[in-house]
């Protein structure tokens, strides 16, 4: 009563807030409208006006050649909800998935993957031919392609890029200032001058022909070259910008369907359509890559319409997405492996029967149903479905069979199971089961899965203690082989070579936590990787997989696709299993 003016003051404050809140949400004049409201609100009018033609709009795939303005909402940029900030937009100088999804739009590799698969398609290279034993590969390049800065794409540019990548002495590598090119030694065994490298040289034969020389037969070489890591950048841009190339100040300059506009640290990378693209140009005028670390946050942003498509959601968000008419799940092939490792150096896990008992004790189908929403497949080996050609048909599958597990334990002299293990120093310790402190597509919910493992193991008498630690330390100890007992981890592939899964885990130098050090397997994997033909290669891979399954140092659990989702109005998105696809065909329905 006494303070009427104060009341008015407060009320007016509230009112101002509400006016601001309402502003733009309803007024059509406001150009600032949240993208949330746009697709639905804007869609109503044009369709109502053009009702008779609505049916004609259906066969979108066939009418791709037509001016895009007729079907897609070309007024706005696509907004992609990425799972974090890139570390660099120089594709050769990063291994981060958050970076490669962006660089794939800017810098193209010589060979493309067919949409949604690992089949190779001509890209910047029109064709590629090996010599008799696959030690020399000749690539014929596409003519008339230009980099975003207007310079020519040609053999010289390709040689420049690969020499920069492979040769530590190359003038424009800027390694002393921080460039590391981390993927090259992983794939080719080392840089120029390293003892184990299979890389010899690259030469330009003429303006549009390059020859790669390798020291070993490498039948899968085109599969390596197609990986997103090998995007070709403009040599001019690299020479001009030095170590700043790929950073927020410069971005990336390639031949891709989109051009770099800006990178706002902590917020987004903005790209716009490359209208001079050599293939069909992108359907939308640009893409904004948002950095949203948190999966629930990405889902909320998708629900709110702030982003159009996103990746790596948690499996339990499938229900939310399916029940929302404005959203849709995006199907994709699994290209990963979740596994449970057993350190074969510490008893009782040194006994193969104990390891087999662990395999029979765990109901992997139930794990798949319970923690992955049933989407994915049980893993019989490390190789995902798309690489089944390298997996033997008669592989041992270890179906859920607790009785068999108990039998095996009894045979191994543990009729009542066990609860301790022997460490390298001879001391006894409780059996540990390590689960990751972070979520990955292969183990989206590591802790509950670990609890399920523990309960299955307890059913056959194996008592474990659940443990975890900081992710960095977890990986350090994993690498150092100082994790004992059972350890959970996984892997997502990046190119179409079975060795990307097998050599990475069973090759020399990758003994790590399992202690599995089998020279025969090493030899078979190396031989398979350098066989002269893919048939020979398949036979050798199958032998290696058979031997690994017999020894069972790591139990494959599942291949589970990550959960991708999109706005229902979004069309034309076909995610690549390797996680880097061009957004050329993606558009938003008007």
């Amino acid at each position: 009563m006494r303070s009427k003016r104060l009341w008015t003051w407060m009320l007016s404050t509230t009112l101002v807030l509400f006016i601001l809140a309402g502003c733009g949400g309803t007024t059509p004049a406001a150009p600032t409208e949240a993208p949330a409201a746009e697709p639905t609100a804007a869609a109503v009018e044009p369709t109502a006006a053009e009702e008779p033609t609505a049916a004609a709009e259906e066969p979108t795939a066939a009418t791709e050649e037509e001016p895009v303005a007729e079907e897609s909402d070309t007024s706005k940029f696509l907004v992609f909800g990425g799972s974090g900030e890139p570390d660099s937009l120089d594709s050769m100088n990063t291994t981060a998935g958050t970076a490669l999804i962006v660089t794939r739009q800017l810098e193209e590799a010589l060979i493309n993957f067919a949409p949604g698969s690992l089949d190779l398609e001509p890209g910047l290279a029109l064709s590629w031919e090996p010599n008799d034993n696959s030690t020399q590969w000749t690539f014929t390049l596409r003519e008339g392609v230009k980099f975003h800065d207007g310079t020519d794409f040609n053999a010289e540019a390709v040689v420049f890029n690969y020499e920069r990548l492979s040769d530590p002495e190359f003038e424009y590598g800027f390694r002393d200032e921080g460039n590391t090119f981390p993927i090259f030694p992983d794939i080719f065994g080392g840089f120029v001058g390293d003892e184990n490298t299979i890389w010899e040289s690259i030469e330009a034969v003429d303006e549009y022909t390059v020859v790669f020389n390798l020291t070993e037969p490498t039948p899968l070489f085109p599969n390596y070259v197609a990986a997103a890591y090998f995007g070709i950048s403009s040599p001019q841009a690299i020479m001009d910008n030095g170590v700043k190339y790929g950073t927020p100040d410069v971005g990336g300059v390639g031949t891709g369907p989109f051009k770099f506009v800006e990178w706002n640290a902590g917020q987004n990378v903005i790209l716009e359509r490359n209208d001079e693209y050599w293939d069909d140009t992108a359907r939308m005028p640009g893409v904004i890559f948002r950095f949203i670390d948190d999966a629930p946050q990405r889902l909320a942003e998708l629900q709110a319409g702030a982003i159009d498509f996103t990746i790596h959601l948690s499996p339990d968000s499938r229900e939310t997405i399916e029940s929302d008419a404005n959203l849709a799940l995006t199907p994709l092939e699994p290209f990963n492996i979740a596994y449970l490792s057993m350190n074969i150096n510490n008893p009782p896990f040194d006994d193969i029967r104990v390891r087999q008992a662990v395999a029979y004790a765990i109901d992997r189908q139930a794990i798949l149903d319970g923690f992955y929403g049933g989407i994915g497949v049980i893993a019989n080996s490390f190789l995902p479905e798309v690489m089944k050609w390298a997996e033997p048909d008669d592989i041992e599958t270890f179906p859920y069979d607790p009785d068999k597990a108990k039998e095996l334990l009894a045979e191994a002299d543990y009729p009542d199971g066990f609860s301790t293990m022997t460490l390298p120093d001879g001391s006894e310790a409780p059996v540990e089961l390590w689960y990751m402190p972070v979520s990955r597509p292969y183990y989206p919910t590591p802790q509950p899965v670990a609890e399920a493992f523990a309960s299955y193991l307890a059913d056959v008498g194996i008592q474990v203690e659940l443990k975890t630690e900081d992710w960095g330390v977890y990986l350090d100890n994993w690498d150092a082989g100082t994790k004992y007992g059972l350890v959970m981890l996984g892997w997502t592939g990046d190119y179409g070579d079975p060795n990307n899964f097998l050599f990475t885990h069973f090759g020399p130098g990758n003994v790590a936590e399992s202690g599995y050090d089998n020279q025969e397997v090493f030899d078979m994997l190396i031989a398979a990787g350098s066989a002269n033909t893919q048939e020979d290669s398949a036979a050798m891979f199958q032998d290696a997989v058979r031997m690994i399954t017999t020894d069972l140092p790591r139990l494959p659990i599942v291949h589970a696709p990550p959960v991708y989702a999109q706005s229902a109005a979004l069309e034309g998105w076909i995610p690549s299993p390797t996680g880097g696809e061009p957004f050329t065909t993606v558009y938003i329905e008007k």
């Binding site: 601001l20 949240a34 949330a36 900030e85 921080g178 981390p182 902590g266 917020q267 670390d293």
Partner: protein
């Protein structure tokens, strides 16, 4: 006054030195290898050694006692030396200049903090005054109860609820970020405060858009200081209202509003202003939860990502900067107090 100011400024030196030492130590006590954080899980030992060398992480922490090199050629003294030269270094992850990054992240936090402080002050003081003048009424009890809830409410929970309600369910406000990304494409910020830049450059669409983006996060961030300010105002008002000069004012037959606004509030506000000033420091340094929930590209999320990515220069530079701003804001508040209250003389 000048002597006092100088004394205070000299006093800042040991404070900032202590902070630099603490940040430096704490950062290195966090488990996890920066080389792995930078190169990724798939790097090998050789690559990691190379990056350690490039970043100077292979140098001793404080003193090089090996007798081979300069005793002070160490991580800490290199860091301090650079800071004194005004060089905050380069982000390990992005290789961008940290001072430059500060200039984009700090305005975001400043804009959010000022908006939150505006709401907190406006609503807090109003509530406090009404509560005090209608002491014991339903409004008083209710608002003080709500204030208590406000102080104790988890900020991220409130933020998520507001997002869910206003952005996901009702779809009337943007869910996150400072402004729609395609709106400011190629936009050259002047102050970095989008609401103001929009006005300066005649881009009213940007100002409106930025204001709409500000609503939810600033309300979220305002809850705690709002509650504190409301309670502070209430008790200060109650104290002043019991003073004899207020009784005199009423006895003179002045209108209620004149007594409350001009005679009581003016005096009661003195301690409140100190609190408000301190809150600004706290908001600037502590907006991290709100920033995270709303993907607000401010200094809090910037430092958080620095910590997660073991980007030592970003974390060190960022925290030093925040600490510096914090002590300066406090100093300014103290000085301001002397201006407002003629009785205070330093």
């Amino acid at each position: 006054m000048v002597a006092y100011l100088l004394r205070r400024l000299v006093g800042l030196i040991p404070v900032l030195l202590g902070i630099s030492f603490l940040i430096f130590m704490l950062l290195r006590l966090i488990p996890g290898d920066p080389a792995i954080a930078i190169l990724g899980e798939r790097s090998n030992e050789e690559q990691r050694d190379a990056i350690r060398e490039q970043l100077g992480l292979n140098k001793p922490l404080f003193f090089d006692l090996s007798g081979e090199g300069n005793v002070f050629d160490t991580q800490y003294f290199t860091f301090m030396g650079n800071i004194l030269r005004g060089d905050l270094g380069t982000s390990v992850l992005r290789r961008t200049d940290i001072s430059g990054e500060l200039m984009t992240f700090f305005p975001a936090t400043l804009e959010l903090s000022l908006a939150a402080l505006f709401i907190a002050t406006f609503v807090g003081v109003t509530t406090g005054v009404i509560s005090a003048t209608s002491r014991g009424s339903i409004f008083d009890t209710a608002s003080m109860g709500i204030a208590l809830i406000g102080v104790s409410m988890p900020i991220f929970w409130l933020g998520l609820m507001l997002q869910y309600l206003f952005a996901v369910n009702m779809d009337v406000l943007p869910i996150s970020q400072r402004v729609d990304a395609d709106l400011i494409r190629g936009f050259d910020a002047i102050t970095g405060l989008y609401t103001i830049d929009g006005l300066l450059l005649g881009r009213f669409d940007i100002t409106t858009n930025a204001l709409r983006h500000l609503i939810l996060p600033s309300i979220t961030l305002a809850t705690v200081p709002l509650a504190i300010i409301a309670r502070m105002t209430r008790s200060a008002m109650l104290e002043v209202l019991g003073q004899e000069y207020i009784r005199t004012a009423w006895a003179k037959g002045l209108r209620n509003q004149t007594v409350i606004m001009r005679h009581a509030l003016k005096n009661a506000l003195l301690p409140v202003i100190t609190v408000i000033g301190l809150q600004l420091g706290l908001l600037l340094a502590g907006a991290i939860l709100t920033e995270t929930v709303f993907s607000w590209p401010g200094i809090g999320t910037w430092i958080l990502h620095g910590i997660l990515g073991r980007d030592y220069p970003v974390v060190q530079g960022g925290i030093m900067f925040v600490a510096f701003v914090f002590v300066i804001v406090n100093l300014v508040v103290d000085m301001f107090y002397a201006v407002l209250d003629p009785r205070i003389r330093y």
